[in-house]
Symmetry: D2
Subunit: 338 residues, 4 copies
């Protein structure tokens, strides 16, 4: 941590900074510049100390982190790539794992129809929402436990692991009884109560990035799960909020190489929620694979026109089949397979 | 809702839109333009229908809302200003209500010292965190129930109502036993499970705006509380995330007149979290009152240098006393009082 | 254009809207809803009328565009893809055109070294800055006309067309004497004086997107060039400003399919300025090609450590050669070639 | 400047950093941490050196500025507040200077009517656009020199200095012949060719903040003017682009205290362009004065319904008169006057 003093800061002010650092067990090195004094605070845990600890002292102009605030999710903590294994499928390896299915589970017929179609086209994990976080209380909130049962049935019949969202700490145990991967939605990325409960479940987790959270905050949220001893974490980029209004969210394509550089966790991409429109989904799905994503999360509906939620961003089964063909080509061109 | 067809859309595509609208009980009016056909969907509940319902149909170019997606929080639903009454103090009336106290309750001594000081300077409600949502799992998470007890003691001794945050649906009943106002933090504004449970408690609620949520989403989140029959809602603007990096969050000063125009709910401002630095707090606190805010939420610490959380944005008791003097002048100049 | 009246708007207020629309030569259709009156303004030029024309009238709640504000750049104006031809190289066709070179021209030796290297690796157009827009007046501003001469020499020796930036209306004629493609930088996308002068030059133009401009504003800026009779326009996505701070700008990958949908103009991507760091460039370059970009603009420097500007985002010639290999694979997988 | 090495960086890599710093004339201090080596680069001109100079070296993880990149605009360069004097009116002193008038000069009648009205209500400087930067080439672009003549006439008749925008380096001399203050619009804040020409004119300048530029970039742009020896600079905050869509731009109220802290230049606020809607203008104008703004730039039109540009954000003369009354109260409450 680097503490910059204001021009003209007094000796006793610099001393205050030094004393505080030492009292926290850190080493200190002083740079007495011609214009400015700069204090470097050294130690392997400075990333976990808030910058305010020093910024609040008199005579301090600014405090800058050198160490990142996340620890367990960092590549410095664990050098080699993490693999998450779900029902024999490895996420983070050579295979680009496609998770597909409807936004919301609506009925047995709808779910089975989609599930069969996406499996036939090569998807290996089934996605589907039973509990839906909706912006308005007057919107359809999902089938709840009935939806979970339908997902479990589909898994048995088709031998596909299932990923589904948990929105309430009260429901973690319930969902964990049915699902193979617990999904944390974008709006809950900093719902720390939920993260802690999910971390304790020891189930594989798909952690969506908050739509306005930095990559640093995302990896720090992963630390909540990792700190509970759960190291089966899959990160999921799903678009960030920007000023651009032609799509719902702007997919942050650079998040893929950046996460790969700073973290050991696998990262997948959800082009459906980012785009918000089926016509944009294929282009950004292909881009994600070319950029190095370990997988995709894609919404498919047998009849998007009749979908209860997010029909506009869902592909039809035949659109999905065509996209899978294209993804196979892209994956091969970067030395992977779908 | 306005449905714009693509150039060259066929008659049967327009018909599909019309049939779907009628099946949902809406009226329809067609505008057969020279270049484009536009279908207006009419009815008082169109705001609660997702735009995707129509956007997904073939031949549709775009769908635009005319009615807002929130209903109970809107000024069209309730014309006159809502007043929230807490321990005899009215929020939303002539008085600009100042809620002050430490970011986190740290000890009886710290809390009582601040509470007395802010009361002496004219604050009428005591704020203080017992459960703290922290970005990193390795940071201090608050005193929990012990903190709630200290807040309740302070209330008794000083006759000041207390506002404190709930972060977990499991804790709603617990916090409601101690606090006068339940605070929903910025990161939980779209934690719908928490909103529903808090709505049911029927306690006054302070609903902070999500730091990347639009005013429309904020008022729609208020609908979650109002839909449970809880109409004691105070909105709190606390800064939004932008590209500007000199402060922590950019206070959205225009949120005050915009909320006043579109909603009947009172709105207060938290300059401390927006600024992130004590030197910026007074200017934006004064701006908020000049712009018509119904109150302020300000962090004060007896010794910011030793604060366990957010010391940098806390005022000292004497800074706070000086600010209250200035706020009195501003309030008077806009026909109100502190 | 859709004009929504406030609840309870009077007949004479609706009439005002109707009269104004008719006076501008538009047709009108009225939707007298139960709660709201909505007026649809119809005609093929409504996109060029400011929404304020109606929004300012008493009793109007909101005005929404149906037609886009750009016209000449729209796919409705011209259905088939535009091709831009420069020295026999077509941009917008099957070939993914790679434009590469140093950020700034520094010397004959540096330029020729890079130019030869990128040509050998398969780049077809040479990029290089002679006039550099710099954030600070104390930074290196480019070699000016000397740089242009060096670029022209390189073109002759290597038979590569040259693209370079113009920053000042005074320099348009000068730069047009040397360059094959005139580049408008991100900070000048809404410098309408410059756009008009460049439009008049009738030279091919590479129009970079303003780093905080919407796609709609970008296409409307292209209208400035097209309105002067210049239809040799190449759009260039180069990253937008967001809250994410791990990279310099966030590449808006969805801009590619969105531009392809709404405009007939070719679109290329500059991964170097978006990333700001060489380690991120290859991943987003590959993503751009997978998403359908018509070309790339890549910074290469023989010795990035010694670059006068933007060394951090420059690839070395050998990194560039490796990337070109990878891009060839990706291009093939989407049915194109580099 | 602080250079952080990657974990495990070699001695020769650290040495490279040290040598480069020394070759640029800086002093260096090394912090050999247990996990990381950190190099502090010291000297009074490090703010003017790009961070890339070091970031590009092998083994460097990140480079952080301690000194700001702007120099002449900084409070460290000049401690006391700068005053700008125009026709006997001082900007930056006790008086809150109100500049008012129409968005665009449309006719002698319109201009004189507004000018008289705003003068009667207490405005001291007349604003009005002759050259208008418009998003679309098909919109009204201003009256040009005819507009300048009308402004000059109004100045003579009413003894009010005039502020008007320059959009093209070709026009600087022309506009300087007529206007007292040259305005640089938001879209031209980083049009460095224009800044340099305006700086040379030695006329007082009103430098609007780019709608997506940080305060640091704004003050660095001011350095372009100051570097030409022009120190009559007024900064103008006019709203920044955010995700919020209820208003046109979000006024950055915290820019006022932040600019006051880091710069000696006066700062005024344009609530009209920020709000984009007359109903929001008064609240944020009052907020700006309460927060410490040195002045306001307000659009007034005799008949906003008939305005050729931006009618929606213009106040009527009577609305303006009422607002001036309110501003007088606010100014008094912060120890100033209008």
């Amino acid at each position: 941590m680097i503490v910059e003093m204001v021009t003209g800061a007094g000796v006793e002010q610099v001393d205050d900074v030094v004393q505080r650092a030492k009292s926290l067990g850190f080493q200190v090195q002083l740079n007495l510049g011609t214009d400015k004094t700069v204090v470097a605070i050294l130690g392997s845990n400075t990333g976990q100390v808030p910058t305010d600890t020093f910024a609040v002292l008199p005579g301090v102009e600014s405090v800058t982190r050198v160490m990142k605030p996340y620890k367990l999710a960092s590549r410095e903590f664990k050098t080699e790539d993490s693999l998450v294994s779900v029902g024999g499928i490895e996420i983070g390896g050579k295979r680009v794992v496609v998770m597909a299915g409807p936004c919301a589970v609506e009925s047995e017929k709808q779910l089975m129809e989609v599930a069969r179609a996406v499996k036939d086209s090569g998807a290996s994990i089934l996605r589907g929402g039973a509990f839906k976080p909706r912006t308005s209380p007057f919107s359809f909130q999902g089938l709840g436990e009935v939806g979970l049962e339908l997902l479990a049935q589909a898994r048995e019949k088709l031998d596909m692991p299932v990923v589904t969202e948990v929105v309430d700490p009260h429901d973690v145990d319930l969902v964990a009884r049915y699902a193979d991967i617990l999904q944390v939605g974008s709006r809950n990325m900093q719902n720390f109560a939920l993260l802690t409960d999910i971390g304790r479940s020891k189930r594989p987790v798909l952690l969506k990035r908050g739509f306005s959270c930095t990559i640093t905050e995302w990896l720090t949220a992963a630390d909540y799960l990792l700190a509970e001893g759960n190291n089966q974490i899959i990160l999921c980029e799903r678009g960030i909020r920007t000023f651009e209004d032609s799509i719902r969210f702007s997919l942050d394509i650079s998040a893929i190489p950046v996460v790969k550089r700073f973290s050991h966790l696998p990262v997948v991409v959800d082009p459906s929620h980012a785009a918000g429109h089926y016509s944009v989904v294929p282009a950004i799905a292909k881009a994600a694979v070319a950029a190095g994503a370990d997988g995709l999360l894609i919404e498919v509906h047998p009849n998007p026109k009749e979908a209860l939620i997010d029909g506009l961003q869902s592909l039809t089964p035949s659109d999905f089949a065509r996209l899978m063909e294209e993804l196979r080509q892209i994956a091969r061109s970067v030395g992977r397979y779908v």
